[in-house]
């Protein structure tokens, strides 16, 4: 609540009466409203704000017997101020932040917006500080800035930050920059990879901004009950080289960006589900493809009521299929359109199943009249049209699994990534620092 009011320009210390959460459950004892009624009355007639306006970003300082001691104290200080994630960070020293800022085409004081719900002013510098803390490098900064820009304009981003469903940004990167900065599109792309470490740092920095600047602190500024994927969010690249002939990149399909454009596309995901797609025993290529498609549709056919937010204009989720699967399916006639059409058609839910799950009540109170109208559809489609489904070719070169990121995503926001003129030098520095290039495997 404090974050919510500060996010709209008010001082954060609003007049509030707070109760334990059990009072907000169906059938609860709400007699405390009467016993504490004076607090409501005082909120209307006596309360006043004690908030003091803060100045510009300040420097913090620690001293230790050695550098290691000082580093430990810096990490402790960040944690005690609720600015860490529990893993070690690089404190954002002036030297490190200045180094990171080499990756920006924008001035360090350029304001990208305000990070909700707290409303922290989001400058390029504060992005560089977050990226420094997250172990990032200057060549990652253009992607982070584009992702932040996309988040800040996303419909309902303040609610996405705060909601109990715990959505997390999934940042899909297209264009040559992905390989240039060592961003993973293959095996293990949603997890750690020492050969392709960019996604972890960028996503962790984005999370730092969400928490430190946006105020999405667990249980305070975000009521995410489980908070999965929130150490690093999900930042990965589409495997453009793995696209079958004639297939378009995600960035082109969803945002109209021409191939070769460096871009991000941000979906707010609320869950990750592995789908065993490949069949077993004797089967034809056609049976393998069709059975796998049915299994994907079966996973999608669920009353994910958080996805109502994107029923008309957003997405119910991201279906990731591995490049070898995409190629084999394309060889027997499947297209991006026919895959989406199949998944949309066969993920529809009989209204009787919706009713037994109490789902129509949520549709009925949705703020979007188009979504409310959908209550008349039987079977009920999980989104308005097949094109809402995000289909991405990514993952390891292996045919067994697909991956479904179910969404709570009112929109899918795209942004072009801008790199500085000195970007080639930054990449050369990265080769020097990190060794082998993007196609070299040391294993």
């Amino acid at each position: 609540m404090k974050n919510a009011v500060s996010g709209v320009g008010l001082a954060p210390d609003a007049a509030m009466v707070t109760f334990p959460v059990n009072m907000f459950m169906p059938g609860s004892d709400i007699s405390a409203v009467e016993t504490r009624k004076r607090e409501f009355y005082d909120g209307l007639i006596k309360w006043k704000s004690d908030f003091v306006q803060a100045g510009s970003a300040k420097m913090l300082s620690v001293e230790g017997a050695s550098y290691e001691d000082a580093l430990t104290k810096a990490n402790n200080l960040l944690l005690t101020n609720l600015w860490g994630d529990g893993l070690p960070v690089w404190p954002g020293t002036k030297e490190r932040v200045d180094w990171i800022l080499q990756g920006s085409v924008l001035p360090r004081n350029h304001v990208l917006g305000k990070f909700p719900p707290r409303g922290g002013v989001t400058t390029v510098e504060i992005c560089a500080i977050a990226l420094a803390m997250a172990g990032g490098r200057p060549e990652y900064l253009p992607v982070l800035i584009a992702a932040v820009e996309a988040c800040l304009v996303a419909d309902g981003f303040d609610q996405l930050q705060a909601t109990s469903g715990g959505p997390f940004p999934a940042v899909i990167v297209n264009g040559p920059i992905a390989k240039q900065i060592r961003l993973n599109s293959g095996f293990g792309l949603l997890g750690p990879d020492p050969q392709r470490p960019a996604g972890a740092s960028i996503g962790r920095a984005l999370r730092m901004l969400q928490q430190n600047v946006g105020g999405a602190l667990p249980g305070v500024g975000t009521m995410a009950i489980f908070g999965a994927m929130r150490y690093t969010n999900a930042v990965f690249a589409e495997d453009e080289e793995g696209l079958p002939p004639g297939w378009q990149t995600h960035a082109q399909q969803r945002h109209g960006y021409t191939p070769g454009t460096n871009s991000v596309s941000v979906v707010f995901a609320s869950g990750v589900t592995n789908v065993r797609r490949r069949g077993a025993k004797k089967e034809s290529p056609e049976e393998d493809a069709l059975n796998g498609m049915w299994r994907m549709a079966d996973f999608m056919r669920a009353p994910n009521l958080a996805a109502l937010a994107g029923w008309e204009k957003g997405t119910p989720g991201v279906m990731m299929i591995a490049p070898i699967v995409a190629r084999r399916m394309a060889e027997i006639g499947w297209t991006q359109k026919s895959i989406r059409d199949f998944l949309w058609e066969n993920s529809r839910i009989p209204m009787a199943h919706m009713k037994r799950a109490g789902a129509p009540a949520w549709i009925d109170i949705d703020h979007n009249p188009v979504t409310r109208e959908s209550i008349n559809l039987d079977p009920w489609p999980i989104c308005q049209k097949p094109d809402n489904i995000v289909l991405v070719v990514a993952g390891g070169g292996h045919p067994t699994h697909s991956y479904w990121l179910q969404a709570h995503s009112p929109t899918v926001e795209g942004r072009v990534i801008r790199v500085p003129e000195t970007f080639e030098r930054l990449l050369t520095d990265a080769d020097r620092d990190l060794g082998c290039g993007d196609d070299v495997c040391r294993i």
Partner: protein
């Protein structure tokens, strides 16, 4: 010999551009509204509060809890704000957050 490490506060700054509304001198004879997100037992708590206000402050006028648009998607928009302002209420109570 100690090592000093200086680094940026990573939280940025907050700009306060809008003051909170001034509080009322009293509730007697005032007109009070509710803006409800229709969640978290608001349908029970807010009517209870309405009854309490009406009992404790003679002459107070408390609007019904559905006098303004309800639901998370509607209560924060400009149209609702205009309706609240137009209604002439002296104060509003917003609920329920959880």
């Amino acid at each position: 010999m100690t090592t000093k490490l200086e680094f940026y506060d990573p939280s940025g700054v907050i700009e306060v551009k809008v003051p909170h509304a001034p509080r009322l001198a009293s509730l007697e004879g005032k007109r009070i509204g509710f803006v409800s997100n229709e969640q978290w037992q608001a349908y029970r708590m807010l009517p209870m509060l309405k009854e309490l206000l009406e009992k404790d402050f003679p002459g107070v006028q408390v609007l019904p809890i559905d006098a303004f648009p309800q639901g998370n998607g509607l209560i924060g928009n400009d149209e609702t704000a205009k309706l609240v302002k137009k209604s002439g209420v002296d104060a509003v109570i917003v609920g329920n957050a959880a």
